[in-house]
C-alpha cells in the first residue's frame, strides 16, 4: 500500500476517533455534480466545522465506469475577518472494497460579499491505470449584495483542465443560492454543461 493511501486511511481513522459531540446543526449536505467527465451524487456529514465524511457515487463518462467512494474533506486552514473568509481544504476518497482506487487533492477559496476566488487540484488514481488529474480556477463577483434569506447571485468564470482531454476550457457560470439550496450552471463550447446542485439539511 502506497504512502498516500496509508495517509488517507489513517486520516479517516484519526478523525473518526477524534469526533467531538455535534454542536452544529446544519451538518448534512447532499450534492449532485455533472460535467463533461463525470456525474456524481455525494452525501456528507460534518461532525464539526473542521471536517466532513461522506459517500460519493461517481459515474466516469470517459472510462464508462462507476465508483463508490468513502470521502473525507478536512479544513486545513481558515482565516476569518469581518469582510472576508479564506479556506484551504484537503479532500480525499477511497473505494472501500478496492483501496487502490483513491483520489486526493486540495481546494481553496477566498470570498468577500462581492468577490470570490477559488481553485482546486485533484489526483484520481485507479487500479487499472485509468488515472487522471483535474484542476480548476474560478473567479466570481456578486452583481448585488443580498441580505440574509434573499436570493443570492454570482457571476463566475471558470477555467479547468484535466489530463484526460489535456485541453483547458474557460467558460462562464451562474451561481444562485437561497436558504439551504445552491445551484450552479456553467456552459462551455468544449465542455458542455457543468452543473452543481447542493442542499444542506
Amino acid at each position: 500500500m502506497g504512502i498516500i493511501k496509508m495517509i488517507i486511511l489513517g486520516l479517516f481513522i484519526v478523525f473518526n476517533i477524534e469526533a467531538r459531540p455535534i454542536s452544529y446543526s446544519g451538518g448534512t449536505t447532499l450534492m449532485f455534480k455533472s460535467d463533461n467527465v463525470s456525474n456524481s451524487v455525494y452525501l456528507h456529514y460534518s461532525p464539526t466545522y473542521k471536517y466532513s465524511i461522506g459517500i460519493e457515487k461517481v459515474k466516469n463518462k470517459f472510462y464508462d465506469n462507476n465508483k463508490n467512494y468513502l470521502r473525507l474533506t478536512y479544513l486545513l486552514n481558515r482565516k476569518n475577518t469581518f469582510t472576508s473568509q479564506r479556506n484551504l481544504y484537503f479532500q480525499s476518497g477511497v473505494m472501500p472494497n478496492n483501496t487502490e482506487n483513491i483520489f486526493y487533492g486540495v481546494h481553496g477559496d477566498w470570498e468577500t460579499r462581492k468577490l470570490f476566488i477559488g481553485f482546486g487540484i485533484k489526483d484520481i488514481q485507479s487500479k487499472y491505470g485509468m488515472d487522471y488529474k483535474d484542476e480548476y480556477l474560478q473567479l466570481g463577483f456578486a452583481p448585488y449584495v443580498g441580505d440574509y434569506n434573499d436570493l443570492h447571485t454570482w457571476i463566475m468564470l471558470k477555467t479547468k483542465k484535466n489530463t484526460l482531454t489535456n485541453k483547458a476550457s474557460t467558460y462562464p457560470e451562474l451561481k444562485f443560492f437561497k436558504g439551504n439550496a445552491l445551484m450552479k450552471f456553467g456552459y462551455g463550447a468544449n465542455t458542455n454543461w457543468d452543473l452543481h446542485f447542493m442542499y444542506r439539511f
Partner: protein, 135 residues
C-alpha cells in the same frame, strides 16, 4: 463648589447614559441604532433592522454578536440553526452587512460569552464581541 460641580457632572452622565442602556427599543435613529453604548462601544446595527427584529418581542435580553467570517448567507445558515435549538432563544437575525447576529433570549436565560462564542465557532466563524441589551 467643587462638590456641586462633581455631582452635576455625575448626574449628567447618568441622565445621558441611562436611555441608552435601558431603552434601546424605540430609540433608533435614521441609519443606525443609538450608536454608542454606555461603555463607549459602537453598536453599528441598522436601526430599521433592529426595530423590525424587536417587533412582537417583549421581556427579552438581546445579544448583539459581532462575527468574523460571516460573508455569505449559505455560510451563516448554521448559526441560525444552532441557536434556534436553544429553547430560550425567541428570535434570531443575521445581519451580513454589518457582521452581526441578533439573538433574543428569554429573560430567564443567563447570556454567557463563552457559550455564544462556542456556538459561533462550531459554525466555523469567530466571535469578536458581544453586547447585551436588556429590553
Amino acid at each position: 463648589m467643587k462638590k456641586i460641580l462633581l455631582i452635576s457632572l455625575f448626574s449628567g452622565t447618568i441622565l445621558v447614559a441611562e436611555p441608552d442602556h435601558e431603552g434601546m427599543h424605540g430609540h433608533s435613529h435614521e441609519g443606525h441604532l443609538h450608536e454608542t453604548m454606555v461603555d463607549g462601544k459602537n453598536l453599528n446595527v441598522s436601526a430599521e433592522r433592529f426595530d423590525k427584529f424587536m417587533e412582537e418581542l417583549t421581556e427579552v435580553n438581546i445579544a448583539i454578536v459581532s462575527v468574523k467570517g460571516m460573508v455569505c448567507d449559505f455560510c451563516a445558515r448554521g448559526i441560525s440553526k444552532t441557536f434556534l435549538k436553544d429553547k430560550d432563544v425567541e428570535k434570531i437575525d443575521v445581519d451580513l452587512d454589518n457582521g452581526k447576529v441578533l439573538i433574543a433570549f428569554s429573560k430567564s436565560k443567563e447570556i454567557v460569552y463563552a457559550e455564544i462564542e462556542k456556538k459561533i465557532l462550531s459554525n466555523g466563524q469567530n466571535m469578536s464581541d458581544l453586547q447585551i441589551l436588556e429590553i
